[in-house]
Every structure is written in C-alpha cells, then in structure tokens.
C-alpha cells in the first residue's frame, strides 16, 4: 500500500540519491560550487527528515531541496549592482502567484509544477526527480498548470 511506505533510515535515503543529486548540482552550479551545495542539501534534508510522514516521493523531495539550495547559490552570485538597480528580487513572480494553489495539486503534478516554475528545472531533471521521463514530466507539468487555470482541484 502506498500509504504505509515508511521513511527509510537516512543512510538508505542518502546512499540511494546522493550520486544523482550531486550530478544535478554539478549541472546547475559547476563542479566547485556543487560540493558545498551538496553538503548543504543533505544537511537540510537531515534537518527535515524526522518530520516526514511517509517515504513516498523522496526523490522529488531531494530534488526540491537541491533546487532550492542551487537557487540560493545563484542569488548570491548575482552581482550586488544588479540588485541595487532594482532588478526583481524575486525572479519568479509568476510562480509566486500560483505557489499557494500548487499545494492542492495531486503530488506528481505539484512536484512537476514546483520544479518547473519554482526552480526552473529542465524537463529532463524533473523527469529524473519523478523517476520518469522528460515527456512524462512535461505532461505532468502542463496538466498541473491546466488544472490550476481551471481551478479544477481535487
């Protein structure tokens, strides 16, 4: 039963996803920054781990944390001048508007929408996060967005 998937020991979570997450961070940040981001990602995961209620979608969860860490690194990299000129300090206004709605989507669509519009992941990476393909990720994203537009939430 899906509902009874218990949270595995952290060791297993780490062993299962650490390689993939490191590869993802290298793609996003380059080899050097990826190392610090890797450590930060898994420390954040550790911090939240005892509050997980089940062991489903741990891969998408790991990608979400890694994407958030990578976004923090990008934000720090952005020259200070640019920020002073009043560049939007939230580069994802469109997403900010739908974020609270996304919570009501079915899990896969929610993860796809969050990773695509919240963290700007490629469909390849979203597919990896969801354990499926880029095509399936594109479909989940667009059906999530359609649902949000129609406010046709389950």
């Amino acid at each position: 039963m899906m509902d009874t998937v218990t949270v595995p020991p952290f060791e297993r979570f780490y062993e299962t996803w650490s390689g993939e997450i490191l590869a993802f961070l290298r793609r996003r940040l380059g080899a050097v920054d990826a190392e610090d981001a890797f450590q930060e990602t898994f420390l954040r995961a550790l911090r939240g781990y005892d509050r997980l209620e089940h062991g489903r979608e741990l891969r998408a969860w790991a990608y979400t944390i890694a994407a958030r860490v990578a976004a923090d690194v990008h934000r720090r990299r952005r020259p200070a001048a640019e920020a002073l000129e009043g560049a939007a300090d939230d580069s994802r206004p469109a997403y900010a508007e739908i974020e609270h709605l996304a919570n009501a989507l079915p899990p896969t669509e929610r993860a796809a929408v969050v990773l695509r519009y919240g963290y700007d992941l490629s469909y390849e990476d979203i597919g990896a996060a969801l354990g499926s393909t880029a095509d399936a990720a594109r479909q989940a994203t667009s059906s999530g967005i359609r649902r949000l537009r129609r406010k046709e939430l389950p």
């Binding site: 595995p8 650490s18 890797f38 420390l43």
Partner: protein, 187 residues
Amino acid sequence: MTTVPAGLDRRFRAAAASSGLLDVAYDLFDSPLGTLLLAASPRGLCRISYDPEPERETEVLAKRFGPRVLRAPAPLDGPRRQLDEYFEGRRRAFDLELDLASVGGFPRQVLEELALVPYGEVTTYGRLAAQVERPRAARAVGTVMNRNPLPIVLPCHRVVGSTGKLVGYGGGLERKERLLQLEGALL
C-alpha cells in the same frame, strides 16, 4: 551513474555527525572477533552487533531511535579506541556513556546487575537472577543475555551455567570462549 567522491562523502558524514541532527551514528569496526557494528545515539553507545547486516541493522535502529541513522565514524571514536585497548589486553573496564533507554523493566535490571560483574570473573544465570530478586528466573536471565544490545561492554560472556558450562552466547560460543580466554577466566 555519478558516485560521490570519497572526500566529499566523508565531509558530509562528519558535518552530519557534528550537526547534532543524527538520531544514531554507526560504523563498522574490524575486531579480533570479526566485524562489529557500533552505534551511538546522542546519549551514548546503544548497539554493538556481531556479524552485522547493515541494511537490516539500520532499519532496527531507525525504528527504535528515529529515522536519522547515518554511518558516521566520529561519534564512535571513543568506543572504538576502548575496544581496541580491551582486545589488546590493555583495558579491563569500559568508561563509556551507554544508552539503555530502549530497555526497560526486568531486562534493564538484569543488564545493570550484569555491568557489575568484574573483568576476568564469571557468574551464573541463577546468581544474576537471585541478585535482581527473581531467583527462579535463570532462564529469563538467559534470554536477556541473548538480547543484550551491548555485548562485550555489558559482559554477558561472563555469565555461565551453574555447572560452569558456557551454555550459550549471542555471538556464538567460540567468541564467548575467546573473550573469557582474553580475560584469563578460562585456560
């Protein structure tokens, strides 16, 4: 498939251990009695296993102590050093914090009594039973010994049958014999 470089992996495990976020840190340790798994909670050493199957072992630890179980050597440095000294014959008593919080009632009483049996001496199941005021519970004491979460440190190898026969040992009789020989209790 990307593998995490050893140095990065080591740094993360060290950072996790010093973050104070782990429910249990564990590591494997090569001893003269074969590989041992050592595990510690923030309160102290909580598990020593012979012939460990880490996969199963981490499940059990997660259930008992919480899911944040990670292989991380640093918190086990002290116990590892003391066990080394013990196996080299240079240590007769362990000076370690122990976490027995998950053991209660009768087993807890028996283990606390067991902890007092000195190096190089033996006692019997019946005598331990009498010491916790359950003189007829020798068999139940045997069960507690068999489930001892901290063999070697809590010296269940020093408990023998009333005739002096070694009787049994969670890690196998051969290991019980080796430990008693090491301590000079057996010739």
